[in-house]
């Protein structure tokens, strides 16, 4: 581990305004569908009406006859893919298709909305209209999409989640643990499917120059797009460049590389013009994955003192015909409480759906809801305060591996969160507090999110110009995380320069690094690389100065040199970077930084912790639940920028609110189509739903996870919120609603 410069005030942690603020507030930031190119053509995707069967015919005559239509691509004429890469999470730094299926390679329909044609025209309106003129005939078979349809055919997969997670997790003897328990609580929890719905629909602009492809793609990993498209098209990596300077949110739906970037490239090659392919809002429900509808069953056993003796956590969910995918809802329930016996089992059934995918806090958002609602029930049953119950089961080691946490801070999260929220003195009895028509209740839950294991070395490049400005580069896109801002700070800190003189350049496969910013890992891994590059460049310059007879620093010990505002100082001697370079007639200096992540078998448990508190008002007569306030206390390791970190955590907490009370989709049992495919029906929180949110940051040192001890803030904010709200609804009303979202009809 590299030591930090301690003698200069650090840019790290400062609440710097976003470096991309100005382009974003003036409209000059260009997202992937906003690249003006001459002769642009527009591709429009046609999705299957049916959910199961085959396309028996496509009559494209009316469509092709429309003015401006350049091509109609279907399974009959779309080029075959070169190769189908396996499904591996994009964090791994390999090709990362969203599913091991590529559309329009045959006539089979696996799910509703599956791409069955692509219409390309010279304007968007013409492409969209021509798409509606296609006459598609189908041979339809009965689809399987719902939990009830699939329950009897469920199986326990060997591994899920792109092969990363076993289908069954056990320790001890859960039956024995439940037998030994004085108290048991048990419940079945059901979850509607959720869709990411970033406000920017996924879009790709594709441009061929000879046999070289340039893609502008809204993605969490420009390299993931590059690698996936390369494998699918059989075009070498060196001939594909992907740029993604801005992405209008992702939340996981741009983490894997779904079919549309490759389709855009195919269409552009077909028509010999640049092609823009933007998914419609409706297509965002069927083209980029989702959080699967699911059912979880939790059984807790505990002693009368509230010590857990057993946790059984089962899950049933639909997956696609191609992949064994379930979000890992059972992972953290095996790790975060001291408990001798555990059993987690995933059950899947093949359904007419695309492969589900990562969605913010994939697994933890649902799994921690079930576990933490059960814990609340247990606390109620035992007459123990919910915070106290969690403290009684606190563990300083990963309960599954037995390894100590690389860092925790969970106790402080409970304590400071509870204090800020005003938890102490809470009357535990439900339905005791009323204000007018509103019943008031409070609830809490633990938040945990694993620090993702990384596979590849992380790289960045730092360059200092003789004019005293620096550019630091890494390929990662900024899809709203603030990575461009915080890396500017990390770079400035490492170089010993002011942030104003540093610029972070990102979102381009021509820049170093490879892994996608997924799983809250972006800040940790990129900061490690940027820190490494910046400190390497600083070291290079310091070494040059002390070895340079013309430098005032000549002969100084490099370890005595501190750098601040671009000036190297040792004792009374000092020299600016710029003077050193100019004297040596050197226009710039550059260094590549690399960080090798810890091995996967490192003897530590790596987890981010937090505690969530919520107060709800329930109009018990009308069934309305409104969240009045929330406090979240989080220990995300080191905070690179207090402002952007708080924003991400706040956003995550409000996502938890949406998950708890609003967001729902279901597939119709007869047609296999989603019921809610617009933002008028699939409800996400609007301004009026969002209370002010109190975010407390508890910095813990962690020298295991990465050089700067960054554990990430992208997802932990959401984890536990839905449980805290559900527990608050119980406290307000005395009713346990074991489903999400909790809606009016559940409370009448």
């Amino acid at each position: 581990m590299t030591t930090m410069p301690t003698t200069t005030p650090s840019a790290i942690g400062q609440p710097l305004d976003r470096v991309d603020g100005r382009p974003k507030v003036t409209g000059s930031a260009h997202y992937s569908a906003e690249i003006p190119l001459p002769d642009m053509a527009y591709a429009y995707v046609v999705g299957s009406r049916i959910a199961a069967g085959r396309v028996s015919g496509i009559d494209a005559s009316a469509a092709t006859a429309e003015e401006g239509v350049l091509a109609v691509l279907t399974h009959e004429n779309l080029p075959r893919i070169a190769e189908q890469p396996p499904l591996v999470p994009s964090l791994a730094g390999t090709a990362a298709p969203g599913q091991t299926y590529f559309p329009m390679q045959d006539d089979i329909v696996h799910y509703a909305g599956q791409q069955i044609a692509l219409v390309v025209a010279d304007t968007w309106e013409r492409a969209q209209h021509a798409a509606h003129l296609l006459r598609v005939s189908y041979e339809e078979t009965a689809p399987v999409t719902t939990l009830d349809q699939g329950r009897d055919r469920a199986y326990v997969p060997e591994r899920i989640f792109g092969g990363w997670i076993p289908g069954r997790i056990e320790r001890g003897d859960v039956e024995a643990g439940l037998r030994d328990a004085d108290v048991r609580v048990e419940g079945t929890y059901t979850y509607a499917a959720n869709h990411h719905n970033p406000i920017e629909p996924s879009s790709t602009t594709a441009l061929w120059d000879g046999d070289t492809l340039l893609l502008y793609d809204s993605t969490q990993g420009v390299n993931a797009t590059q690698m996936t498209v390369s494998r699918l098209l059989g075009v070498p990596m060196q001939r594909i460049r992907v740029i993604g300077h801005y992405a209008g949110g992702s939340f996981g739906c741009k983490a894997m590389i779904h079919a549309h970037p490759t389709l855009a490239a195919m269409a552009a090659r077909e028509v010999g013009r640049p092609v823009k392919l933007a998914l419609t809002r409706e297509q965002m429900f069927t083209s980029v994955g989702h959080r699967e509808e699911q059912e979880q069953h939790v059984t807790l056993g505990a002693t009368r003192e509230g010590r857990l003796t057993a946790i059984r956590h089962h899950k049933l969910s639909p997956t696609s015909p191609f992949d064994d995918w379930a979000e890992p809802s059972l992972g953290t329930s095996s790790q975060i409480y001291a408990c001798p016996h555990y059993e987690g089992v995933y059950r899947l059934f093949r359904a007419n759906t695309m492969t589900p995918t990562f969605m913010r806090a994939p697994g933890e958002a649902s799994g921690m809801h079930a576990l933490e609602c059960a814990m609340d029930e247990l606390a109620h049953e035992l007459g123990v305060d919910p915070v106290e119950l969690r403290l009684r089961n606190h563990t300083d080691v990963d309960a599954m591996s037995g390894f100590p946490w690389s860092s925790s801070g969970l106790r402080e999260c409970y304590e400071r969160g509870a204090r800020r929220f005003g938890w102490s003195g809470r009357d535990p009895r439900p339905a005791m507090r009323r204000e007018g028509d509103w019943l008031i209740g409070t609830g809490m839950a633990t938040a945990t999110y694993p620090v993702a294991p990384l596979a590849n070395p992380q790289r960045a490049r730092a360059r200092l110009y003789a004019d005293g400005t620096a550019v630091v580069q890494a390929a990662t896109p900024d899809f709203g995380t603030g990575v461009a801002t915080v890396m500017t700070q990390v770079a400035a800190d490492g170089l010993g320069m002011s942030v104003e003189r540093c610029r972070f350049e990102n979102g381009d496969t021509d820049l170093p690094n490879i892994a996608a910013a997924v799983g809250s890992a972006g800040a940790g891994m990129i900061s490690a690389a940027v820190h490494s590059a910046a400190t390497a460049l600083r070291g290079q310059l310091v070494n040059k100065a002390v070895a340079d007879a013309g430098s005032p620093l000549h002969g100084a010990d490099p370890v005595d040199v501190v750098v601040r505002d671009g000036v190297m100082t040792a004792g009374t001697a000092s020299e600016a970077y710029t003077d050193l370079l100019r004297r040596n007639v050197q226009p710039d200096a550059e260094a590549l930084g690399q960080w090798n992540p810890p091995a996967h078998d490192i003897p530590y448990g790596m987890m981010t912790f937090g505690a969530q508190f919520a107060e709800v008002a329930v109009d018990a007569e009308l069934g309305l639940v409104r969240v009045r306030r929330m406090t979240g206390a989080f220990a995300p390791g080191r905070v690179l920028n207090a402002k952007t970190a708080r924003s991400q955590l706040m956003g995550g907490m409000l996502w938890g609110l949406g998950q708890a009370l609003l967001e729902a989709n279901h597939m119709a049992p007869d047609t296999g189509r989603w019921a809610n495919s617009s933002l008028a029906e699939y409800l996400v929180a609007v301004n009026a739903d969002a209370p002010d949110v109190d975010v407390e940051l508890i910095e813990v040192e962690d020298d295991i996870v990465n050089p700067l001890g960054v554990k990430g803030v992208g997802e932990i904010g959401q984890v536990g919120v839905a449980a805290a709200i559900a527990n608050a609804v119980h406290h307000a009303t005395g009713r346990r609603v074991r489903k999400l979202p909790i809606t009016i009809e559940d409370l009448l």
């Binding site: 100005r22 507030v25 003036t26 997202y31 719905n197 970033p198 706040m650 933002l679 301004n687």
Partner: protein, 174 residues
Amino acid sequence: MPVRGPALTEQDAALLEQGPGPVRVGLSVNGAKRTLDIEPRVSLLDALREHLHLTGAKKGCDQGTCGACTVWVDGRRALACLTLALTCEGHEITTVEGLSEDGELHEMQRAFIAEDAFQCGYCTPGQIMSAVALVQEGHAGDDDEIKEWMSGNICRCAAYPHIRAAIRAARDRM
């Protein structure tokens, strides 16, 4: 609040049936006269984004459900996705690109940066156009009012509390 009045079109052009092919349209956008050839079915949003390359107004849903395309028509906030460009002849269109003057950010833009009222930035131009109009309408009195009157602009990053803070800050300086 002025009621949207008759368009200032030339009389003899008024009864002309135009289209379905491209027709010449004169639009006044951010104070500048712009001429473009578009089919009557082209929305104001697509006219701005695809023809004038003013991509500040965003396409989030194209269905009137998200607010990302919010612009002003004659100073009133409206959804560009549900407005046909042809209907805007004779009316003044203002987009986020027309909000700052001489490179000076509008107070609301400044406040959005200072309060970190966005993350991905995609809904931001719509939020800002809505927010400035909100203050001018007199609907930014307190947080409850801001919440209700800003609910037509979805922020999926959920920066809502910071959007309110930015509006409060800019309101007092506008």
